[in-house]
C-alpha cells in the first residue's frame, strides 16, 4: 500500500513536470510556428534554434517588478492567477497517460486518479477555471479588465453547454464516464471519431473557445481591450495567466486525443508482437505524439483565422453549436436504437 502511494506521488510530480515543461516549450513552439507561417525565422538567438528562449522568458517574468494597483482588492488580485493556474494543473489528474507498467508482479497504472466520474470531474474543473479569470479581472478595478473578464465568463459558459452536450452523445456510446475505460474501449473497437465526427467537431470548436485561443481570444483581444482580463497584471502573476493558457491547451489536446482518437492506443498495436512494458512505453509516446498534433492544430488555427466579433461568437455558440449538439445526440440515439445497442 505504501508502495502505491509513493508511486502515485512520483507520478504526480512527473505529470506536473511534463505538463509545465510542455507548456513552456509550447510558447517557444508557438512563436516558431507563427514565424514560419509568416515566412519569418522566429526566436533563434537564445541557444541553438532559440531553445533556451522559454527559460529566458520565464526568468524575465520572475524578475519583473510586481505591481498591485492601489484600488484593487489585493487578496482577490493574487487569488485570480493562482486559481487559474491551479485549475489548469488539476485537469491532468484523470487522464490516462498510458496502459501502465508491471514491475515484479506489481501493476503501476499511468493514471493518477482512476475515478469513475473522470469526465464529469474534467468538465467541473474546466468550468471552475473561469473563476480565476473573473476574480482576476474584477479585482483589478479596471474597465478593460472587467470587460475582458465578463467576455471570458460569458464565452466560457456559453461554450460549456455545447461542449457538455457533445460529450453526452459520446457518453451514450461509451456507457461510462471513466476516462480509462473510454480509452480501453477504443482498443477493442474503432476510435470514437468514427462514430462521432460531428461531436468531435463541436468539441474541437468548444475547446478553442474554452482555452481562449484564437479565433475565440476575445477575453484577451490585445488589439481592442489592451490586454483584457490581465491588463493590470505584471510579473509572474501575468506569467501564470499566460502559462495556464498553454497548460489548458495541452490538457484539452490530451482530452481530445483520449476521447476521440483512441488515447494511447494506435492501430495494429497487438500485431507488432510487443508485450507488456515495452508496448506500454510506445503507447505513451504515441499518446504524446497525438497531443503534439492537436497542439499544432491549435496554433495553426490561431495564425490563420481572424478573431470573431462578439455577437458572432454568441451566435455561433447558442444558435449553431447548441442545436447541432442536440441534433447529434438525437442522431446518435436513433442509430443506437436501430442497431440494437440501446
Amino acid at each position: 500500500m505504501d508502495q502505491i502511494i509513493i508511486y502515485k506521488i512520483i507520478l504526480c510530480v512527473i505529470v506536473f513536470a511534463v505538463t509545465l515543461g510542455a507548456a513552456a516549450y509550447m510558447t517557444w513552439g508557438e512563436r516558431k510556428l507563427a514565424s514560419w507561417l509568416q515566412d519569418r525565422v522566429g526566436p533563434n538567438r537564445a541557444g541553438p534554434f532559440g531553445l533556451l528562449q522559454p527559460i529566458a522568458d520565464g526568468l524575465k517574468m520572475l524578475f519583473k517588478e510586481e505591481m498591485i494597483p492601489t484600488h484593487s482588492n489585493k487578496w482577490l488580485f493574487i487569488l485570480g492567477p493562482s486559481f487559474f493556474m491551479l485549475t489548469a494543473c488539476m485537469t491532468g489528474a484523470v487522464i490516462p497517460w498510458g496502459a501502465g507498467f508491471t514491475i515484479d508482479g506489481t501493476y503501476f497504472p499511468m493514471q493518477i486518479a482512476d475515478i469513475n466520474i473522470g469526465l464529469l470531474y474534467l468538465l467541473g474543473v474546466i468550468s471552475i477555471g473561469v473563476y480565476g479569470i473573473m476574480i482576476g479581472g474584477w479585482s483589478s478595478n479596471n474597465k478593460f479588465a472587467l470587460l475582458g473578464a465578463l467576455r471570458a465568463s460569458s464565452q466560457m459558459i456559453s461554450y460549456e453547454v455545447a461542449m457538455g452536450l457533445a460529450l453526452i452523445a459520446l457518453v451514450m456510446l461509451t456507457g461510462t464516464l471513466n476516462l480509462g475505460e473510454i480509452v480501453a474501449q477504443q482498443d477493442a473497437d474503432y476510435a470514437y471519431i468514427v462514430y462521432q465526427p460531428l461531436g468531435f467537431l463541436i468539441f474541437l470548436i468548444c475547446a478553442f473557445a474554452e482555452t481562449n485561443r484564437a479565433p475565440f481570444d476575445l477575453p484577451e483581444s490585445e488589439s481592442e481591450l489592451v490586454g483584457g482580463f490581465h491588463t493590470e497584471y505584471s510579473s509572474m502573476k501575468l506569467g501564470f495567466f499566460l502559462f495556464a493558457e498553454y497548460i489548458n491547451m495541452f490538457i484539452s489536446s490530451a482530452v481530445m486525443a483520449s476521447l476521440y482518437f483512441g488515447g494511447y492506443n494506435f492501430p495494429f498495436q497487438h500485431e507488432l508482437g510487443l508485450e507488456g512494458n515495452l508496448l506500454s512505453a510506445i503507447q505513451t509516446a504515441v499518446f504524446l505524439g497525438k497531443i503534439l498534433i492537436f497542439i499544432f492544430i491549435f496554433m495553426w488555427v490561431r495564425w490563420t483565422l481572424p478573431r470573431f466579433r462578439y455577437d458572432q461568437l454568441m451566435n455561433l455558440g447558442w444558435k449553431v453549436l447548441l442545436p447541432l449538439a442536440i441534433f447529434n445526440i438525437f442522431i446518435t440515439g436513433l442509430v443506437m436504437y436501430f442497431t440494437g445497442k440501446l
Binding site: Q38, R40, V301
Partner: protein
C-alpha cells in the same frame, strides 16, 4: 475604363449554403498558411549573413588621393552644386609652399563635409567631379547615436595613404573615357569652346 483588367465588380449577394457553412473557406485558409510553412524564409540572419550588394553599389563616399598621395580635390564646388540633397559643404584654401606633396592643385578643400543624413546616395557628385576626386564605394554608412556624428568630415572621407579604397568597379575605363571625352559639352572647358 480599366487600365489593368484586374478590377473586380463587387456585388452584395446572398451566401450559398456551402459558403454560409464557412468550413470550405476555413480549410482553404488553413491550406494557404500551411503552404507558407514550407516556403523559403525572407530573413537574412544579419551578423552571420550579410546581404549581397551590387558591384556598383552606391555607399559611403571616399575622397581619393593621386598616385603620389596628394589629395585630388580642388574644392571647385561642382559636387555641392550637383548635389540634389544639398548634403555637401566645403571651404577652400590656397596651397602654401612646401605642401605640394599633400595637395595636387593650387587650391584645396580645407573643410569638406558630407551630411550622411541628407545624402540620398544618387552619385551625382561623382559624375560632376572633374578631378576624379570623389567616388561612392560599396561601404555602408555606419549608424550613430547623434546627428553630429553623421556629418562626415575629411578625417573620415579622405582615403588613407597606405590604405587605398578600391573604386575600380565604379571607375571603369568606359566611364573614364566618357567623362573625359571632349565631344560632350559637359567635359568642355571655356578654352575648349573658344577653340571651336
Amino acid at each position: 475604363m480599366s487600365l489593368t483588367n484586374r478590377s473586380k465588380v463587387v456585388a452584395k449577394k446572398e451566401l450559398t449554403l456551402m459558403e454560409s457553412l464557412y468550413l470550405p473557406a476555413i480549410f482553404k485558409g488553413m491550406a494557404i498558411t500551411l503552404s507558407h510553412l514550407f516556403k523559403r524564409k525572407a530573413t537574412i540572419k544579419y551578423p552571420e549573413q550579410t546581404r549581397e550588394i551590387a558591384p556598383v553599389y552606391r555607399g559611403q563616399h571616399v575622397l581619393k588621393r593621386d598616385e603620389a598621395g596628394a589629395e585630388r580635390c580642388t574644392a571647385c564646388g561642382l559636387c555641392a552644386v550637383a548635389c540634389p540633397a544639398e548634403a555637401i559643404t566645403m571651404e577652400a584654401a590656397e596651397r602654401n609652399k612646401g605642401e605640394e606633396s599633400l595637395y595636387r592643385e593650387e587650391k584645396y578643400a580645407k573643410i569638406y563635409e558630407i551630411n550622411m543624413l541628407r545624402c540620398i546616395f544618387c552619385g551625382l557628385c561623382e559624375e560632376a567631379c572633374p578631378k576624379e576626386a570623389i567616388f561612392l564605394t560599396d561601404r555602408i554608412v555606419p549608424s550613430s547615436f547623434t546627428r553630429g556624428e553623421e556629418v562626415f568630415g575629411k578625417s573620415i572621407l579622405v582615403e588613407d595613404v597606405n590604405e587605398r579604397v578600391d573604386v575600380t568597379k565604379r571607375q571603369t575605363p568606359d566611364v573614364l573615357s566618357f567623362k573625359q571625352d571632349k565631344k560632350h559639352a559637359h567635359n568642355q572647358t571655356f578654352q575648349d569652346r573658344l577653340k571651336q
